[in-house]
Amino acid sequence: MRYITIALSKGRLTELSIDLLEGAGLDCSELKSNSRKLILSDHKNKVRFFLAKPADVPVYVEYGAADIGIVGKDTLLEEGRDLYEVLNLGFAKCKMCVAGPKALEGCMDTVQISRVATKYPEIARMYFRRKRKESVEIIKLSGSVELAPLVGLSDVIVDLVETGRTLKENGLVVLDHIADISARMVVNRVSMKMENERITKLIQAIRAQLK
């Protein structure tokens, strides 16, 4: 039997992903052992795991280097990879939003936005092109995006909003809601066909825990 390879996102999704996989009957002890090894295995079930930066998980899965991946919807939207998105795992919930100064609240339909700061340039570009039919200048930042409108770098931001606290403390408000975000399970298109039985079984075992 071939090994099925699962790519997990390093960071806040890791632990919850491991819980689900364990619940589905996989042996993740090697994965939890804090080893320096990059690829960890469950030899009994013929499954291998590795941890990767979230943005890389869809890449590994699209190219078939991993059969299955667990990754946030934000990353999937941003990367736009050709994958099967088979399960909404429901955790790490938040919203992708347009946010900006309170002055813009309620008048988004009348104002012209020209500059947007974000960690998600593709999502921002898509939203402004499709929904608002606007060509905007996108400024890519790596963190603390809320700062941008405060110091005049951009008019608005596109970012993940979990509780909205950071926005509030800095006098910003949500102006529009782009998408609901949560962790998702994705599968390579070829793997889904060639290893259909094993992968479907795993999907069902994970889905059963979500109820």
């Binding site: 071939r2 899965v61 699209e62 190219y63 078939g64 280097a65 994958l83 099967y84 998105e85 088979v86 399960l87 909404n88 599968v187 390579n188 298109r189 070829v190 793997s191 889904m192 066909k193 060639m194 259909n196």
Partner: protein, 402 residues
């Protein structure tokens, strides 16, 4: 300043000796398989007018084509595929009495798509088309040809998934969704995004049975038994016809003893928007992308002015090579050929001997460094030849097999 003279552009590659020999061999196996099945080879130009691929429905994405101008300022492209040029030929060059036509091609195509995993910007496609035949028999013939072509390449474990775009289109007709919503649902189903499909359906008042079926579409793949699970009562005539069509094709494939390679995927609603009937893709281990894809495209030829049913597929040779490599099926090159060297004065004899071998069809090459027996043997070994012959001035010769 010359800055790029040492490099090749992104997505194109030099193919050197061993892989090149392997690729040629692969192509000749494929060519042979097509010929044996009665397909005739054709060639189309590498460059075409942009309009051939653009059209109003946008057959190809504008940004994925290599574009340039001819001397009259008209927009040209490097062909992104060969099916569309074949459709152009079918509409403009062939006569009514020529049809049906079975043809095939092997050629390089170009597109600016994302690289990696075996994807290149210049890639070789081998494919075939049956023009002027509307029957499920013709569709089954093309699927069978796809299976035989994969077998000819040496890949043993593979699967062909068959879908029917009319099934989806029929369900959408019944559902009463708007055009842009249908496109949204199509994209979501293509991604097997169960959640997204549900969100769109919830916005509408679709009949429960139909809604359940549409929500299930991403899951409707596997063995042909799933076709039996669908209740004809709620799906409308168009979708029902599509199911019947797929069943007939499966029956024909079963008669050809090919049904074990085939499975169903009714959620296959790929973005190539020229398909009108069955669609199929071929998968194997070791590559993350399909190695071939095809289907029926009855409206494509009419875009060039002739009403003609057509069906076909194309296979990515580079993808197949990668699969063979990953599956460790790339055979080592066979040792063959003779290396001939000589002592001063024995040149004429050596040259005559070399020519004699070549005339007999045995690869042979003459030494032009003339550094003696030991270096001659070393050279022949390094080049993977099977024998070494050395001619002495006194007329004698020494033969060594390697």
């Amino acid at each position: 300043m010359k800055k790029w003279n040492l490099y090749t552009p992104e997505g194109v590659q030099d193919i050197l000796f061993t892989p090149c020999a392997f690729k040629r061999e692969l192509e000749s196996k494929i060519r042979n398989a097509f010929r044996l099945n009665g397909y005739m080879e054709l060639e189309t130009p590498t460059i075409e007018f942009y309009d051939v691929f653009a059209g109003d429905s946008g057959l190809m994405r504008q940004e994925s084509m290599y574009k340039f101008c001819d001397s009259k300022g008209r927009l040209l492209v490097l062909r992104p595929d060969i099916t569309v040029p074949v459709a152009r030929i079918a509409a403009t060059k062939l006569k009514d009495k020529d049809f049906p036509v079975k043809c095939f091609y092997i050629g390089n195509t170009f597109s600016f798509d994302e690289l990696g995993g075996g994807k290149q910007n210049e890639f070789t496609q081998a494919g075939c088309e049956i023009l002027g035949a509307n029957s499920p028999e013709a569709d089954a013939e093309v699927v069978a040809m796809a299976i035989n072509t994969i077998k000819a390449t040496g890949i043993e474990e593979f699967q062909i998934d068959i879908g029917q775009v009319d099934f989806f289109k029929g369900l959408m007709e019944e559902s009463g969704l708007k055009k842009d919503e249908i496109e949204e649902v199509r994209e979501l189903i293509d991604l097997k995004d169960f959640v997204g499909v549900e969100q769109v359906m919830d916005r509408h008042n679709v009949k429960t049975e139909l809604k359940t079926l549409i929500l299930d579409l991403p899951k409707l793949f596997g063995s042909k038994d799933i076709l039996e699970t669908i209740n004809y009562n709620h799906i409308g005539k168009r979708a029902a016809n599509a199911l019947d069509n797929i069943k007939t094709i499966l029956d024909i494939l079963a008669d050809r003893n090919l049904d074990k390679y085939v499975s169903i995927d009714l959620g296959m609603v790929q973005s190539m928007n020229y398909y009108t009937g069955i669609v199929f893709r071929g998968y194997t281990y070791g590559v993350g992308f399909p190695i071939l894809s095809g289907g029926r495209y009855d409206t494509l030829v009419s875009k060039f002015g002739r009403n003609l049913g057509a069906t076909g597929f194309s296979m990515g040779i580079n993808m197949v090579m990668m699969a063979l490599e990953r599956q460790k099926k790339l055979s080592n090159p066979v040792k063959e050929g003779c290396f001939i060297s000589y002592e001063e004065g024995a040149r004429k004899k050596a040259l005559e001997y070399c020519q004699k071998l070549i005339d007999k069809g045995i690869p042979a090459q003459i030494d032009f460094m003339l550094k003696g027996v030991d270096e001659g043997i070393e050279y022949a070994q390094r080049k993977g030849l099977s024998s070494f012959v050395y001619f002495y001035t006194d007329g004698s010769r020494k033969e060594i097999s390697l």
